[in-house]
């Protein structure tokens, strides 16, 4: 444990899984004993020991305590990682381990010296193949350590918040008012509860009666946290993919937590299905990487596609680059038996090589790590081919290499809710608010950005440009939609979308550190904002419409103040955490836009969105907290209990100071940024040198511009909603065409419905109709349908059997007669034929 401090992270990851397993076992035991609850005896007693009819709080407190332990371990791990004095491969061995899960076939068993000797005599010998193996492993670098600490700390606070927010679920029966008007029961009146509680009829006029699900909520949350933490520490794409799907299914469970509500189950399905689209792309990327590079380990993939950092020929421009080569079939040594040779293209003529060179890695370091002190961890030195030289390494077609990057990015588009797969995120607000906080801040949506940061070296220039444009378009569209939304959680959802767009844009234009710094800072203040909105919703008796709020700052001072901190942070107010990351992103965008005049859109959109961010966030705050109450819920609001306000205060503190550095008036001086910078892939600085120079040169301009835009946006919000105090009626007006366009979210849902959903549903309905048509009698279908056809075939067989069974009389004499007559007939036929 001490020799390999990285195992602290494995322990921290597995703790929530243990909590999940424990809660699952407890719930299963209770379900098992439930039939005996009336009978008494040992089994009946066990039912009451497991909690009985009332949901137990114990499991939730246990899960929260476990999550807190994980957070403590994560912070301890972060401290230990940052203070680890070792360097190079020793450091790598202390913070990474991997084991085989499934090994498929033997790899090249030659040792490196043997391979070198063979290569000296047989130049055409291809690079040694890796044994194909699905592995389990972890690798901790600065990004992982920081993100891990961030996720576990935020998750702990959300767990604490949830113990109070979900307190309704501890009741023996919960009345879900979101389920109404089903089963033909009229009367939508509120508050009437005339019908007696009966398990057989859970649908009452005022809602749906069900058992509380306190423990189940924490069970899902624990699994969610495990999946996310596993995703963070994973060192290979396969493990990432497994966690990726686990996160997806957990979000499905949590968004559909109130699954009796049709809207909630539809939202859960939508989130799951939209994410599948992205995951299909991710899978394509993984398969390409697997089949061409023979490994899924991200570090090994990087070493395959990027030239080594130490150039053996002194041509430093080749270090850490993607080397493109072209096939040279006319080479005199090339025969049918030897593989084709490839000729190196000069790097300064991009777009000429048809293939990407794959460097050998199998023998550079032991494939298997057997713990420290093994003595094999020498830093590898590869031979870099000379320009114009003929090489016989492996290659991957450039188009496939781009496809691999785009595929992986498509997965991230789905997870991080980028255009065009962003539509699930606002609908995901159907889940309980702590879930929204967990999904939007710490976990699911962070996964996409994190993976882009992780797989950054695998992206070709075209892919990076795609990422930048997707991010830019997303941040702009989401910001415009957020301007006019009226549901407090939907405003935050679109703001999340927009901020994720900022991160993607930053990653796409080479501001790797800024993008991931924004990921961390945004996680804190978005968790804060969501939990604040949860507190508001809780205080206003589940009112979510900001038009019916107002004047809450008197009634909920802690929530109001902490939310103001969050609003300031997300708007990029100076010296709050959001300012550091956002200023870096905007400076990078300015630098990139000025360096590449063709991509001026990447400059204009984020600056416009920065102004809109300030506007819609302050609009939200003023509508919620300023003025006077405009609705019943807001009029009778109350401050939330301590278990909810304490996480808010803690998150507010983080939102203010998590990115501070010295001197704190310099956005580039952020200490967190410097930590993250150490994990930045080595090629970024070289590849984006010009852009970075330009950004550095202009960062004051960018900062000033962002500040002016932010202040004007905030001022506009104050003028419209803080000072003028519009009446509630005014806000319910239908508005103009542009307003409706934004209100309806650019008609994305309608477009998808028309283009994809409706044709699919139509096809499904057609298929169902072709399959079977309902009839009065069960199991009988009309002939033109598929089921009818198969039934007809079956019925014909039965009828034939019925007809033929009369022949089987069971009389020996009949049989003999038939036999003799048949024999005579055959004899007669044979005789006739013989003539």
């Amino acid at each position: 444990m001490l020799e390999v401090p990285g195992r602290i992270y494995v322990l921290a990851t597995l703790l929530p899984l243990a909590a999940f397993a424990l809660l699952l076992a407890g719930g299963a035991a209770r379900a098992f004993y439930r039939p005996f609850r009336k009978g008494g005896g040992l089994l009946g007693t066990m039912y009451w020991v497991c909690g009985g009819d009332k949901p137990l709080r114990t499991g939730a407190y246990l899960a929260t305590a476990v999550m807190a332990a994980t957070a403590v371990l994560a912070v301890a791990g972060l401290v230990q990682f940052l203070s680890d004095p070792t360097e190079g491969s020793i450091r790598a061995s202390r913070w990474a381990e991997r084991i085989d899960w499934v090994r498929i076939g033997p790899g090249d068993t030659l040792s490196p010296p043997e391979w070198e000797r063979q290569r000296a005599t047989d130049n055409a010998r291809p690079a040694p193949r890796l044994a194909l193996a699905l592995e389990l492993g972890y690798k901790i670098d600065h990004l992982t350590a920081v993100a891990f600490a961030m996720v576990s700390v935020i998750a702990t606070l959300i767990f604490v918040f949830s113990t109070a927010y979900m307190a309704d679920e501890t009741a023996e029966t919960v009345l879900d008012e979101g389920v109404k008007g089903r089963r033909g029961e009229g009367g939508h009146g509120h508050g009437h509860d005339s019908q007696p509680l009966s398990p057989a009829h859970p649908f009452t006029p005022s809602g749906f009666r069900r058992r509380g699900r306190y423990g189940r909520f924490f069970l899902y949350l624990s699994l969610f946290c495990f999946s996310m933490l596993n995703l963070l520490i994973a060192d290979n794409l396969f493990q990432v993919f497994v966690s990726w799907e686990l996160v997806g299914v957990c979000s499905f469970f949590l968004i559909g937590f109130y699954y009796e509500r049709p809207s909630a189950s539809a939202a859960a399905n939508k989130a799951f299905i939209v994410n599948r689209v992205g995951d299909a792309g991710f899978l394509v990327g993984i398969v390409v990487a697997w089949s061409y590079c023979g490994t899924l380990n991200i570090e090994e993939l990087t070493r395959r596609v990027r030239a080594p950092a130490e150039d053996t020929h002194g041509e430093y421009e080749m270090a850490n680059q993607i080397i493109r080569v072209s096939a040279e079939p006319q080479l005199p040594t090339a025969t049918a038996e030897t593989p084709r040779d490839y000729v190196l293209e000069p790097r300064d003529e991009p777009g000429t090589g048809t293939h990407v060179l794959l460097f050998p890695i199998a023998w550079a370091e032991p494939t298997h790590f057997h713990g420290p002190g093994h003595g094999k961890h020498k830093d590898s030195v590869f031979e870099v081919p000379v320009r114009g030289d003929y090489v016989s390494y492996g290659v991957i077609p450039y188009a496939l290499f781009v496809l691999m990057g785009v595929g992986i990015f498509l997965g991230c588009v789905g997870k991080s809710a980028q255009v065009p797969l962003h539509t699930w995120l606002p609908d995901a607000m159907e889940g309980p608010t702590p879930v929204s906080a967990l999904i939007h801040a710490a976990t699911m949506v962070a996964a996409g950005v994190y993976l882009v940061g992780r797989c950054y070296p695998l992206f070709a220039a075209e892919v990076l440009l795609t990422i930048a444009y997707v991010g830019a378009v997303t941040l702009f569209i989401a910001a415009t939609v957020a301007l006019v939304q009226t549901d407090i959680k939907r405003i935050l959802a679109y703001s999340t979308c927009s901020q994720l767009g900022f991160m993607m844009l930053a990653l796409g234009i080479g501001a790797w550190t800024a993008g991931l710094l924004h990921l961390i800072t945004h996680a804190f203040f978005k968790a804060l904002l969501f939990l604040c909105s949860g507190s508001v919703i809780h205080g206003c008796h589940h009112e979510q419409d900001v038009r019916k709020m107002g004047g809450l700052w008197r009634k909920m001072p802690v929530t109001a103040f902490t939310m103001l901190v969050g609003v300031l942070a997300i708007s990029g107010a100076p010296f709050l955490s959001g300012w550091y990351s956002k200023d870096q992103i905007l400076a990078a965008a300015l630098g990139y836009g000025l360096e590449h005049k063709a991509h001026v859109l990447l400059l204009a959109l984020p600056f416009a969105a920065a102004a809109m961010t300030a506007y819609y966030m302050f609009r939200l705050w003023f509508l919620t907290f300023a003025g006077t109450p405009r609705g019943d819920g807001a009029a009778h609001a109350h401050e939330s209990p301590l278990a909810m306000t304490v996480p808010l205060v803690v998150l507010a503190v983080f939102s203010v100071g998590v990115a501070w550095g010295w001197p704190f008036w310099e956005p580039e001086a952020s200490a967190l940024g410097h930590v993250l910078e150490k994990a930045q892939p080595a090629f970024v600085a070289a590849q984006f040198a010009a852009e970075h120079r330009e950004a550095e040169h202009r960062h004051l301009t960018a900062g000033a511009l962002a500040l002016v835009l932010g202040v004007s946006g905030a001022w506009l919000a104050w003028w419209l909603f803080g000072w003028r105090q519009p009446a509630g009626v005014e806000m319910h007006k239908p508005g103009g065409a542009a307003y409706r366009f934004l209100r309806e979210k650019w008609y994305f849902d309608e477009l998808y419905d028309a283009a994809i959903v409706n044709p699919t549903v139509g096809l499904a309905k057609f298929a169902a109709a072709a399959d079977k048509a309902p009839t009065d009698r069960p199991r009988v279908f009309p002939l033109p349908t598929l089921d009818g056809l198969f039934n007809a075939v079956g019925e014909a067989c039965v009828a034939a059997g019925q007809a033929l069974r009369a022949v089987q009389t069971g009389r020996v004499r009949t049989y003999v007669l038939a036999l003799a007559l048949t024999a005579a007939a055959m004899l007669g036929i044979l005789t006739a034929l013989a003539k």
């Binding site: 009369a806 020996v812 004499r813 003999v816 003799a820």
Partner: protein, 104 residues
């Protein structure tokens, strides 16, 4: 004897065979059916030895086959009589028409 030719043997064999078939097809008594089967087998035997006698290529084979058929007939008679005995125990009769439990 050898001037007789093969034809009378074949006629005899066919006659025996026809008698056997008629016996099997018409008798209701199981023992009678068994006797009919014996007739059919022996019709085949006559054929076999006749061919063995008149075709030098089958001199030995025909006789060996005939011996085999005799052994087979003995075994078959033993099995059939056991079946008939069992049948009688269960049904109190040896009428084959009453053995129709297995009809479809």
């Amino acid at each position: 004897m050898s001037e007789l030719g093969i034809q009378p043997f074949l006629v005899l064999s066919a006659f025996l065979f026809a008698c056997g078939v008629v016996c099997v097809a018409s008798k209701r008594n199981a023992i009678g059916v068994l006797m009919g089967v014996e007739l059919i087998l022996n019709a085949a035997n006559v054929n076999l030895v006749a061919f063995a006698r008149f075709n030098p290529a089958f001199r030995l084979d025909g006789q060996v086959f005939a011996l085999l058929v005799i052994v087979l007939a003995a075994a078959e008679a033993a099995v059939a009589l056991a079946i008939i005995l069992n049948f009688y125990n269960n049904h109190g009769t040896v009428d084959v028409d009453s053995a129709d439990e297995l009809q479809g």
